[in-house]
C-alpha cells in the first residue's frame, strides 16, 4: 500500500496570552490510498485542529504549525504558499464539517455552491458545471436534483444539507476527503445513510477518507483503521477489528468500556474519571496518567513514546514497554 497522506511530527500551537499552547503535539499519521481512517478521541483532544492543519486552514493568528511535515501526494503541504494551497483545497483534498446547518452559504443556491467549485478548479463552463452539479446531487441521493439545484440551503433539512456538502466535496473527485464529525449533528437513521453514502462514494471514486468522530459506532461502521488521540497526541493505532477486539491503551480501553450502547457519545465518558487536560495545563509524564487505572511511578515521571507493537499497531503506554512492566 502506498501512503497518500503522511503526517510526521505535526505540531500546531495556539498563542494565548504570550504562551504557546500545544493543541496538536507531534502527531504521526498515515492514510493510504483508498483507505478510510478514523481519528477518535474526546472533545478537545486536537482532532479538528489536526484536520485543519492538513488543509492549512488554521486561523492564524493565534494558531501556527510550528513543526512537522504534511506529505501529500509527493508534496509537503506545510511548505506550500497560499496560492499553491488554493489549487489543492477543494480539488485534491476536500472537507466536510460537523454543522451542516451552517456550513452552506445561506444566500447562494445549492447549485451555485457546487458549480463554483467546478468552474474554479476544473475550468468548466457554467452550463457544464450545472449539469455536473445535478449529476452529483443525484449521486448523493436526491431524486429531485433538478429542483434542488436552484433551492437555497434553508429549505433543506440537516441530512439533505450534509448530502449537498458531500456532493460539493466530491465534485472534483478528490484524492482525500476529510470529514470532521459529519454525522454528529444528525438523527441516528440519517447518520447511517450518510455513512453508507460516504462508503459508497469512496469506493466509486477511490477516495481516501479521514473521518473524525467521537462515536465508536461510526468507527466500526466505516473505518479500516483507527487512530486514537488524547491531549494532542496519538495514543493508539490499530486496524478496526483489532481495536475492538483488544484495545491496548488504557484510554482506548476506557473509551470502549464507556460504550454501553455503541451510539453513546464519548463526550460523556462514564468509566474514565476526569477530563482531558487542557493543552495549556498538561501533566508531566504520560498525559493520561492522572486518569489511568494502571499507572505506576514511571508514568508520572516520563513521557511514553508511541511504541510499535507490530506492523499495524502502536500504543503510547509503558505497559507495552516489555522490560518495564512491573509485576
Amino acid at each position: 500500500m502506498t501512503a497518500l497522506l503522511e503526517l510526521k511530527n505535526l505540531k500546531t500551537y495556539f498563542k494565548r496570552k504570550k504562551i504557546e499552547i500545544p493543541a496538536v503535539d507531534g502527531v504521526d499519521l498515515v492514510i493510504n490510498k483508498g483507505e478510510t481512517v478514523a481519528l477518535v478521541g474526546e472533545s478537545g483532544s486536537g482532532k479538528s485542529i489536526t484536520s485543519l492543519s492538513i488543509m492549512r486552514l488554521i486561523p492564524s493568528p493565534p494558531g501556527r504549525i510550528v513543526d512537522g511535515q504534511i506529505n501529500f501526494n509527493g508534496q509537503d503541504l506545510a511548505k506550500l504558499t497560499e496560492d499553491e494551497l488554493c489549487k489543492i483545497r477543494g480539488n485534491d483534498i476536500s472537507m466536510i464539517f460537523q454543522e451542516p446547518m451552517t456550513s452552506l452559504n445561506p444566500v447562494l443556491t445549492v447549485g451555485e455552491q457546487i458549480t463554483e467549485v467546478l468552474t474554479y478548479h476544473q475550468g468548466m463552463s457554467k452550463t457544464m458545471a450545472k449539469k455536473k452539479a445535478i449529476e452529483m446531487l443525484e449521486l448523493v441521493g436526491f431524486s429531485r436534483a433538478k429542483e434542488i439545484v436552484d433551492d437555497y440551503p434553508h429549505r433543506l433539512s440537516g441530512g439533505m444539507r450534509q448530502r449537498v456538502m458531500i456532493a460539493m466535496a466530491m465534485s472534483c473527485n478528490p484524492k482525500l476527503l476529510i470529514a470532521d464529525e459529519p454525522t454528529t449533528a444528525l438523527d441516528v437513521t440519517i447518520q447511517a445513510q450518510i455513512l453508507d453514502l460516504m462508503k459508497d462514494l469512496s469506493k466509486k471514486f477511490e477516495t481516501s477518507i479521514l473521518i473524525i468522530t467521537h462515536d465508536l459506532g461510526v468507527v466500526s461502521e466505516i473505518a479500516d483503521r483507527v487512530v486514537v488521540m488524547y491531549a494532542g497526541q496519538v495514543v493508539e493505532e490499530a486496524l478496526v477489528e483489532d481495536l475492538f477486539e483488544n484495545p491496548l491503551h488504557p484510554y482506548t480501553e476506557g473509551l470502549m468500556g464507556s460504550v454501553p450502547s455503541i451510539e453513546e457519545d464519548l463526550d460523556r465518558l462514564k468509566s474514565i474519571e476526569g477530563n482531558v487536560p487542557a493543552p495549556e495545563n498538561l501533566p508531566a509524564g504520560c498525559r493520561f496518567a492522572p486518569r489511568c487505572p494502571h499507572k505506576f511511578d514511571r508514568c508520572t515521571a516520563e513521557m511514553p513514546q508511541l511504541l510499535k507493537i507490530n506492523e499495524t499497531r502502536a500504543a503510547r503506554c509503558f505497559l507495552y514497554d516489555s522490560k518495564e512492566v512491573p509485576q
Binding site: M55, L57, E82, D83, L85, C86, K87, I88, R89, G90, N91, S94, M95, F97, E99, T102, S103, L104, N105, P106, V107, L108, T109, E116, V117, Y120, H121, Y152, H154, M165, M168
Partner: protein
Amino acid sequence: MLSYIIRRTLMAIPLLLGITVVSFAIMKFAPGDPTSLMMDPTISQADKAKFMERYGLNDPVYIQYFKWLGAMLQGDFGTSLIRKGVPVMEMIMNRMPNTILLMVVSTMLAVVISIPFGVISATKAYSKLDYSVTITSFLGVATPNFFLGLILIMVFAVQLNWFPTGGVSTLNEPFSIWDRIHHLFLPAFVLAAADMAGLTRYTRSSMMEVIKQDYIRTARAKGFKEQKVIYKHGLRNGLIPVITIFGLMIPSFIGGAVIVEKIFTWPGIGLLFVDSAFQRDYPVIMGLTVISAVFVVIGNLVADILYAIFDPRIEY
C-alpha cells in the same frame, strides 16, 4: 416578489395618511397664523373676514384637512402665500431635480466609500488601518454637518479656491457637466460624511460577525482565494443588516440635506423649506413636509425590497 412589493406599498398608505394628519395639525396649531403675516395690520374686520372666507379659514378643522388632502391627491398643493399665485407644486418641482441629484450622488459616495472601508476594517481588524478608519468614522459621526460644511467651505472654497462656495452653477456660463460636478462635490461630500461614518461602522461589525461563520470556513476549504471568500461569500451576507440600517438612516439623511442645502445655497427643496419656514409660507411648508414623508416611506420601501432580494430566507 411582485406581490410582496405591492403588499409593502399598500402598507405604506395608512402611514402616509397619518403623516398628512400630523403635518396638517402642526401647521394649524403652530403659533403665528398666516392672516397676521399676509395682511396689513390696519385692515378692517370686514376685509379680514372676507379673506378668511376666501381661503376657507372659517371652515371646521376637519373640513379644511379633507379639502387640503383632496386637492393634494390631485397634485394641487395650493399656491404660495409669499410669491402670490405661484403653485406650490411648481415651486417644489423646480427645486426637486437639484435635491435628487445631491441625494443620489451623496448616497453613492457614501456607499462606494464606506462599504469597502468597512470590509477592509473587518478583515484587518485591530490593525493600524482599522484603527485609522475607526477614528475617522467616529470623528465623522461626531462632527455636525453644518460644522463640517463651514470648515470645508473655509478651507477648500475660500482659502484654496478649489471649489465654489455654493450654488449649482457658475453665473453667466453655459451648462456643463464639469461645472455641475465642481459645484456638487463639497455639498455631496458633507451630506455623505455622516452616513459614511455610520455605514462604515455597521459594515465592519457585520462583516466581523460574518467572517466567523462556518460557511466562510467552507468557502476557504473549497480553495478560493481570500478576496473571493470575503467578497463573494462574505459580503452578500454582511450587507443584509447594513441595508436595514441604511433604511433607518434615510430620515436623518433628508434632515441633513436641508442643512447642507442651506449652507451651500444649493437651490433644492431643503433650501426652499428653510426659506419658507422663515417666511411662514404655510402651503409650501406643508407640501414639503408631505413630500419628504413620501421620500422617507419610499426609501424604507426600497430598503425592504433590497433586503428581500439579498436574503433568500425572507419569505414573502
